[in-house]
Amino acid sequence: MKTTFLIFVAFSTCLGALMGETSKITPVPVSEVISGTPDETVDFKNDLIPMLTKLGCNAGKCHGSAIGRGDFKLSLYGGTPEADHEEIVRKLGGRRINLSDPESSLIYTKPAEYVEHGGGTVIDADDENTRLLIKWIQQGAKNIHLRKLERIEVKPERLVARQIGAQTTLQVLAHYDDGLTRDVTNLTQFVSDDSSAVTIDSNSATAKVIRPGRHIVIARYSTEVVPIELVVPISETVVDLSTEQRNNFVDDEILVAIAELRLSVSPLVDDPTFIRRITLDLTGKLPEYNSETEAGHLNREALVDELLSSKNFVDFYTFKLAKLLRIQSKVDKNLVTTTPKAARAFHDWLAQQLRDGAGYDQMAREIITATGNSSEYGPATFYTAVEDARRQTEFATEVFMGSRMKCANCHNHPLDKWTQDDFHGLTAMFSKLTRSQVIRFNPLGKNIHPNTGEAALMKIPGGDFLPVDTKDGRDVFADWLTDRNNPYFAKAMVNRLWKSLMGHGLVEPVDDFRSTNPATHPALLNQLAEDFMNHGYDIRHTLKVIATSSAYARSSIPVGRNQSDNRFYSHMMQKPLEPEVLADAISDVLGIAAQYGKENPGTRAVELRDGGIRSDALDILGRCDRTNSCEGTPSPTSPLAQKLHLFNGELLNKRLGAEGGRLDQWIRTEKKPMEIVREFYQAALNRNPNEKEIQFLSQLLDDQKPSRQQRDALEDIVWSILTCREFIINH
């Protein structure tokens, strides 16, 4: 087949045509773009491998799996073309290729199912894939790379359509190092992240949106993967947001997305609700009730400042960082040991950093480059949290880059840029450390690269190999990580802070940053990161920016058409209290402190300096054991055991009316029952009971009842308050 050079006629192709509306896609200046195969010679890397990817041959469920399939193993999504060429052309005496009779080649007869193929018929005799494959074999099945792919350009990158049923034609242009720009749409695999929302016709490269909302389609050509965002508004009616309060750039960006999706916005909350929300979010503690705040004259910014400068803030955010860094003692002869002293040293170090207002970049640098006795120098405990250097790579990149590099241990990451060299290059740095109580440099430490069987060279993820004579590469890694141009570090942290207050990450999961998992509000994420860096990586500053936005102050009660919104912040997300916060809140309301291990009586759960301290109550409430990542959202109300424990267990029932507790004391002061109930409402919910509640509660509380019955009724009411959704949720 003669190679076709199809020069696009100027402005001939109007891409992304939508049903019932004019495309906004700018036509490609055509004289620069060619389609089809640009050369007479078939390029193995730029033509054949993408074809195999598009057909699904090298996917994880087929020959791209770790052990291949049917004794035929390809690299996942063509990550290592050289190995694929050897597998196809060289292995087993070259039996998959028949140069004398290309159409008898096993590499063709299998997918065409002339011989039995577990994957069924993948190509037809007369389709363009077959022609390309046969042509390549006719040319000698060579491993030829004519040019290097630099990037791909997808059109449209983002599309806002008016209504469901909208269709758009997708186009992918490949830009190569020799200046060639080529239309590779026919060699690109398009995958919808939710096939119930967007369907793809791969033959015509058309995407059709069948459900309103924001959806992602992944375009994959060769080693490049690019997301395409398709948006269909929730409603046909345009919403008027001109009167919505905009306190800072957060609101500007949030309202842009809300307008695009035509979502209704919930109103701002009253002061008591705001106080409970922000106090729980910044200190992990219930607020002290103040009747004056019901008048609606609260200076919210001043409250945020006050909370951020409190001891409780330091305690709570130390707890959050300690969870992130998996601080807990563990003594197991088969694992690396973290002593209780080391866990506490690290916890105390973090607390001091927060007290001092240290920049997060400085904290990260000290942690990454830590050496010494972990019982004396807390950051060294970072290197005893996991068992070995490879897990350290997974852990470090998850914490500081919000990135899951684990896949690249065994193969190049299928959905991200990480290669095995990246993973094992970083692991090589961590391999040069002793993993005992004293962390020290070990010049003999090495990480064997699974591909080469040799010691891996140190390498910056996505960057250069370090010189062979580099001793401890962690300084270089820390420099790279905390550089202003690092695309991960600042974003990963502000995204966690955002989730901490808003209930949902701009990138979710928060430890899964990659190009194929784009942020819901990329411009906002960029601005937050920029602002974070401009303010010395100050955690308090970013928390304040978010906490003083109108978006943060929005009610969690949906209105109109925003009920289904779970990521555009048209209403506040309801956040389950973290297990430790819930346990403390129960203790505070009941006025009876819980006992944790041998800690001093009155120690709060969020103040525990060692996540390994035993507590059945915290475990049942869903405490993360910190053996693995604690990034998931806690859900204390979902598992049955947790719910039963909360309803029926000793955590509540043994302490409701216990001697010395709040209820017991108030009964002894001979307060009226309804007054006691009111006090509990204020302590637990930061509000008074409303009329309907008073009416109902009055029926239960009869001043004439004997004291024992009165006490039982009050215990029941307190129990109800502490198990109601309003209490266990930050709303």
């Binding site: 060289r90 004398s100 069987g453």
Partner: protein
Amino acid sequence: MIDQIKCWPTRAGLGLFSVLIASLPGTSLLIGQEPPVTDIAFAPDGESLIACSQKGLQVFSWPKLKLQSTVKVSFANLHCLEFSPDGNQLAVGGGNPSETGGIEIFSWPENQSKIKLFHHDDSVMSVFWQGNHILVAASLDRLLTRWDLKTKKTVKIYQGHSRGVSSVCLLNNGEMVTAGHDQSVRVWDIESGKLIRTLNQHTKPINSMAAWPGSTGKPMVATAAGDRTIRFWQPTIGRMMRYIRLESEPLDIAWINESQIIASCVDGQARLVDAENVTVLRTLPVIQGWAYAIAPHPNDQTIAIAGSDGQIHRMRLQKNK
């Protein structure tokens, strides 16, 4: 014909050989136009070298490597060659990938097809003669078949490998040893078909196996695998004696005396290995591409190596002075 002779320094002590290289097959290398040569075998008189590939059987003069004849075989892919002990028959194994596997027996030196034996669902990768009328075939369909050429029927089927079988040989004690892509070496009672033991030390598929030519002591075999090792076994007692990891994956191995083995490798190089001290004595660049097959000459001290793009090269082993 070009003779590029390079002298290599000799090794004191054990090795008594130096190696000379080489000659090209007569035409310039045309990458991608010739199928790979997958196996080679010297004719019993040493005057010819037979090579198999998708082009069929090719008979070359030795040492000049001049193509004398090409013989068509009944299947597309040819993988192995083995002369019968009397030298009158040549067994060729192969198949049509994922469809059939079989053996075709040719008379030698007439090159007349005498018998075609098809039983397998995939290509035969190795054959071994047990006398002049019985042979064993190892196939990618995971089975081994033992054939009686007089009746043209299978007399035994050996089932046990979980992936394709790449190599088979018989020990002088009557046991059969097989090696496969399931990374295992298996020892069988050839008559009963009973699997005696399985040896699992390899960590990648095994490409080739060669029985030790010595006659004293316990039988020994060497295996070459994708884990880049050559391992030396005493299969009758189930022991791996030693191993060596090469810089490149060995595809084929052949003993050149009782203490030295030569391997043809994925990087196109031949490696001479001291089997007792498990050290590489020499590394010689030979093939541009993969070196699939290696065969020592039966009489003189030369070796043939073949591989990608139809290449066949000649090396000379020279006694150290």
